[in-house]
Each structure stands twice: as structure tokens, then as C-alpha cells.
């Protein structure tokens, strides 16, 4: 009996050490916070490690095309993973939507943004910050909202553009732009606004900001890569993702 237990234990520990792998993950900058929490939960639950690099999705795309060692990409959009798949740089059939971003109109001043976003129509501000619509999904969504409201042409002269959503948030946080379109995940914690005032924009005004993950060709044979994608679908990961202001 004891020998049997020992044997099982030996086999188990041998397996654990043989299976535990590290996966190189490229993560969109807007998901850096939740990914940190997910990576530690992932390690606790599976024994695998996730080595996380954060950055701009477009930059990751260029790096992946040029043989970067990433095995999984958590993109800020759904077009880049699809593009990588058609170009043979991602494993077909592994794409999944891990989070859906929510857009808010935010000001660091309390009471500046009302609950219906009427502040946009009044136009009593010098600068409206948004992420570059050409390169950042949150920027494209902001333009969609303004078009829906019929305010794009009037407000365009007041645009200041961040290269990504993090920089856009800094423009508003420092007060240089009175208000701006940022990701809900940047300004809320545990379901509460961390500072200032915000209008959570109704989903009917913009198409969902789907953030897709995909296994890259380099991670094809790494069990930790598929384990990470499976873990992203788990209830534990979903709870973390939701607590950061994404929907699923």
C-alpha cells in the first residue's frame, strides 16, 4: 500500500515537473492589469508559467511577423489575430474572444461629465481626447459614438489623439484634456469609478470592442499555450476579467 502511494506520488511529481512549461504571452496594453492577476491564478491552478510582455497590438504584429518568440497573443482587437491566422502565423481554430471592452466618456473633474453625455453637445471644453481611430479599437469606437450623436464634424477640431488608450487616459488624468474616451477598465476598480466623472456609453452606439486571443505558430507544441487559452475560458479567469470592467 505504502509502495503504491509512493509510486503514485513519484509518478505525479515526475509528471508535474515534466509538464510545467512556460508560455511567452504578448498582451495588449489595456489588458495588462487583469493579465497580471490571471497569470498568477494560472500558475496556481495549472503549474504552468506565463511570461507576459505588454505593448501595442500593432507593434506585436510587426514583431510576430519578424519571428518574435511569442507563443500566445492577447490582442486589443479581433482583426489582428484573424490576420495572423490567414498569414499562417497563428494556429487555425484557436481564436477566442477573451474580453469585450467598454467605452466611457471620462473626466478627471468630478461632475464634469453627466450621466447622459450631454456635455458633448454643450461643447464647453477645449480638448477632447481619444485614441487614434486608425490604430486603436477604442479610438474607432469613439468615432462611431460621435457619428451616432451627429457631433463628429463639430468636435473634430477639438480632438487630441493618444497613440493608444493608455496615453489617452494620461491626457485626461493630467487635466490637459478636460474629457476623453477611455476604456472603462482604466477608470474603474471593483465596479466603482476611481476618480472624476464618467458616462458609460450605451452599447447601442458602437460595435463591440472584441479582444481576441490566439495561439501563435511558435506555441503550437507548447502545452502551456493551450492551457492558457483554456484557462481564459474558466470561471476564475472570467471573474477577474469582469472585475476589471470588461464584459464577456
Amino acid at each position: 500500500m505504502i509502495r503504491c502511494v509512493l509510486l503514485i506520488f513519484a509518478v505525479f511529481s515526475f509528471n508535474a515537473s515534466a509538464i510545467a512549461e512556460t508560455v511567452q504571452v504578448a498582451v495588449a496594453a489595456n489588458f495588462a492589469g487583469p493579465m497580471e492577476a490571471i497569470a498568477s491564478a494560472f500558475e496556481k491552478n495549472t503549474g504552468h508559467k506565463a511570461a507576459v510582455s505588454t505593448g501595442a497590438t500593432g507593434m506585436f504584429y510587426a514583431q510576430i511577423r519578424n519571428a518574435a518568440p511569442f507563443e500566445v497573443l492577447l490582442s486589443a482587437d479581433d482583426t489582428t489575430p484573424a490576420k495572423l491566422e490567414t498569414e499562417g502565423l497563428a494556429v487555425p481554430g484557436t481564436r477566442l474572444t477573451y474580453a469585450i471592452g467598454k467605452l466611457v466618456l471620462w473626466s478627471s473633474k468630478p461632475g464634469f461629465v453627466d450621466k447622459e453625455g450631454k456635455v458633448l453637445k454643450k461643447g464647453k471644453f477645449a480638448h477632447l481626447a481619444l485614441a487614434n481611430p486608425k490604430t486603436a479599437p477604442y479610438g474607432a469606437a469613439a468615432v462611431e459614438v460621435l457619428n451616432h450623436l451627429g457631433l463628429f464634424k463639430t468636435l473634430e477640431p477639438k480632438f487630441v489623439q493618444g497613440e493608444n488608450i493608455a496615453q489617452t487616459q494620461q491626457f485626461v488624468a493630467t487635466g490637459n484634456a478636460e474629457l476623453g474616451f477611455v476604456a472603462l477598465s482604466q477608470v474603474q476598480k471593483d465596479g466603482k469609478l476611481t476618480s472624476g466623472s464618467a458616462w458609460q456609453i450605451p452599447g447601442s452606439l458602437y460595435s463591440p470592442i472584441r479582444q481576441d486571443a490566439v495561439i501563435l505558430t511558435k506555441g503550437k507544441d507548447n502545452p502551456a499555450a493551450s492551457a492558457l487559452l483554456a484557462f481564459l475560458k474558466s470561471d476564475k479567469a472570467k471573474a477577474i476579467i469582469k472585475s476589471y470592467g470588461y464584459s464577456l
Binding site: 490576420k83 480638448h127 487614434n132 489623439q161 493618444g162 497613440e163 491626457f171 490637459n176 484634456a177
Partner: protein, 223 residues
């Protein structure tokens, strides 16, 4: 090459020319003082001028955004002077570029002024030349290679800067969207062909300008 590219090129040349001019006007007296003064403050001033070299440009840009914003000390100053706030304006880009590129102009000038030494100045003094006269008739011609190096470095560094203008500029077409930001936008949007054309053109232009200036400098030293 589209209209956006052309406007970015025009804006960059305008910015770099203006900044180089301002750097020479502001940097020359600082370099002169640093080269001549026996003051103990010399070390501190020299260090402060060189500091922008240490911080990563986006980080420097972030702190300048904070300082020049509505809650920052420079922001308070410019607002009370009736100038408004500097971020997201062309003037804001000029001010930050001058600070950011200052060491590239002050250091070659300071070295040149130090190398000239006291003797030409003493000789000029015995001929009863005034301070200003000495400076423009003796020092400036002798320091010509230093001025050329300083201009090259100041101009090139302003054309090539990215992180700071990205933070302070807000990427506004025709106002703050310079070439480096435009190229980065093309890359981010995966428009590689346009990025290659613009980057290639920028490198070619820089080569021609720098080559011309270095040839000029070589000729100066030869005579």
C-alpha cells in the same frame, strides 16, 4: 505619399528650423558662461542642462505634460501670463523640443569655447575691442565648427524625436503631427508601404543635409 504625409513633413521642417534657431540663441550664452565661469554653480547648471539625456523620452514627455498642464507649475505660469496652456499646441512642441535638445547644442559649443582659451580674447582686449565686438569678431569665427556641429545635432535630434512630441503634441494633423509620429501611425496601422516611403525619404533627406553640413565644416577646418 498623401496630404497627411506632406503636412507632417512641412511641420517637422518648420519645427526643427525654429527649434535650432532658438537653441543657438539660448544655448550660446549658457555654453559661454559654462566655459568661462569660475562659479561653483557651474557643475549644477551643466548637470541640469544634461539631464534630459537621462530620462526616456516618453517619461520626460509625461512629466512635462504634468508640469505644463492646468495643475502644474508651468501651466499656472503660462495661464497667469495669458498664454493659455502649452500641451497640444505647436508652441508647446517648440518649448519641449528646446528643453529636450538643449544638451546637444550646449555641449559642443561649451567644448569649442573652452578650446579657444583666453589668449585670443586678451589679444582682442589689447586692441580695445569691446565684449560684444570680441565675441562676434573673434569668438564666433573661431567657434564656427562648434556652431555647425551644434546646429547639426540640434536639428537632427528635433527631427528624430518621437516620445516627447507624442506625449505633448496629441497627434493633431497639421498642428502637432510630425513625421516621426506619422511613420509610427503607418506602422501601427500596418500600412508598411507608406511607412517605408516616408522613412526612406526622411533618411535620404537627413543624409543630404548632414553630408552638406559636414562638408562645409571640413572646408572650414581646412582653411
Amino acid at each position: 505619399m498623401d496630404l497627411g504625409d506632406l503636412s507632417a513633413i512641412e511641420l517637422t521642417l518648420e519645427l526643427a528650423t525654429l527649434v535650432t534657431g532658438l537653441l543657438l540663441v539660448i544655448g550660446t550664452p549658457i555654453a559661454w558662461w559654462l566655459a568661462r565661469t569660475p562659479s561653483k554653480l557651474k557643475g549644477i547648471v551643466g548637470t541640469v542642462v544634461a539631464l534630459p539625456l537621462v530620462l526616456p523620452p516618453t517619461v520626460l514627455g509625461f512629466y512635462m505634460l504634468v508640469a505644463m498642464g492646468p495643475h502644474g507649475p508651468i501651466g499656472h505660469l503660462t495661464e497667469s501670463l495669458g498664454l493659455g496652456l502649452l500641451p497640444f499646441t505647436f508652441s508647446g512642441l517648440v518649448v519641449t523640443s528646446v528643453i529636450y535638445s538643449m544638451p546637444f547644442v550646449v555641449q559642443p559649443l561649451q567644448n569649442t569655447f573652452t578650446a579657444i582659451g583666453e589668449r585670443p580674447l586678451e589679444a582682442a582686449a589689447t586692441l580695445r575691442a569691446g565684449h560684444w565686438d570680441t565675441f562676434f569678431s573673434v569668438v564666433v569665427p573661431l567657434a564656427r565648427p562648434g556652431f555647425i556641429t551644434a546646429s547639426i545635432l540640434g536639428f537632427a535630434h528635433t527631427v528624430g524625436e518621437f516620445g516627447v512630441v507624442l506625449m505633448i503634441g496629441g497627434n493633431i494633423p497639421g498642428k502637432t503631427r510630425v513625421i516621426s509620429v506619422q511613420i509610427y501611425d503607418h506602422v501601427e496601422a500596418m500600412e508598411y508601404a507608406q511607412a517605408h516611403w516616408l522613412a526612406g525619404g526622411m533618411v535620404l533627406f537627413a543624409f543630404i543635409v548632414l553630408f552638406a553640413l559636414y562638408s562645409l565644416q571640413h572646408n572650414t577646418q581646412g582653411t
